[in-house]
């Protein structure tokens, strides 16, 4: 069966500090991978998606970047966090038409 992992589960970072969130998928190969953010009182906003190693598409201009160094690894990064980067970050992968989510990372920027 397929499993998606995210870490860390929670993170508190000061403004201006760097960020690295990791997502890995098990049990499948060449998945399409996605990063979403759920900010307080808002829906799920698609940030990035990737259809293969080194292939990243950005949906919204922002302070974040993504990378896919390996087939089943997707990393969300920032060089300098902003207060507005606080939120719940979700990694997801697709199987056919359906999308499955990881457990999420709660990021608080102070």
């Amino acid at each position: 069966s397929q499993t998606i992992h995210q870490w860390p589960a929670t993170l508190v970072q000061p403004v201006g500090s760097p960020l690295s969130l990791e997502c890995t998928v098990e049990g499948t190969s060449n998945p399409n991978l996605y990063w979403y953010r759920q900010a307080a009182g808002r829906g799920l906003q698609l940030l990035f998606y990737s259809i293969g190693i080194g292939q990243i598409s950005s949906e919204v201009p922002q302070n974040l970047s993504a990378s896919r160094p390996q087939d089943r690894q997707f990393i969300l990064s920032s060089k300098k966090l902003l207060l507005s980067d606080s939120g719940f970050y979700l990694c997801a992968w697709t199987r056919g038409d359906e999308q499955f989510f990881g457990p999420g990372t709660r990021l608080t920027v102070l």
């Binding site: 996605y34 829906g43 698609l46 998606y49 259809i51 719940f88 999308q99 989510f101 999420g104 709660r106």
Partner: protein, 113 residues
């Protein structure tokens, strides 16, 4: 521009009654629709989906209805149970090299015992 809208941020229903969650969309290119359930501090879990070629899909207590002419879909939960209390997101997908999913803002359902 919010392409998928859930206009009711919250809904309260008595246990045993029907819960109806609504979702509207604007993009006629969407061809697949999904409902997710989300508990606090967890990732959303897939609940039920419907293709644009259908108008109804049923799975146990959950039924999704699609009205393409109105660009409207709804999720019916019958009978509602306290464990159904969660935030429900509708999502629509369109294929553009890969499937892209656009989510609504969510509706918080509270089922009262």
């Amino acid at each position: 521009d919010q392409q998928v809208k859930q206009n009711s941020p919250s809904l309260s229903v008595q246990e045993g009654r029907i819960s109806i969650l609504n979702c509207d969309y604007t993009n006629s290119m969407f061809d697949y629709f999904l409902w997710y359930k989300k508990y606090p501090a967890e990732g959303p879990t897939f609940l039920i989906s419907i293709s644009s070629i259908k108008d109804k899909n049923e799975d146990g207590r959950f039924t999704v209805f699609l009205n393409k002419s109105a660009k409207h879909l709804s999720l019916h939960i019958v009978p509602s149970q306290p464990g159904d209390s969660a935030v429900y997101f509708c999502a629509a997908s369109v294929y553009s090299g890969t499937y892209k999913y656009i989510f609504g803002t969510g509706t918080r359902l509270k089922v009262l015992a």
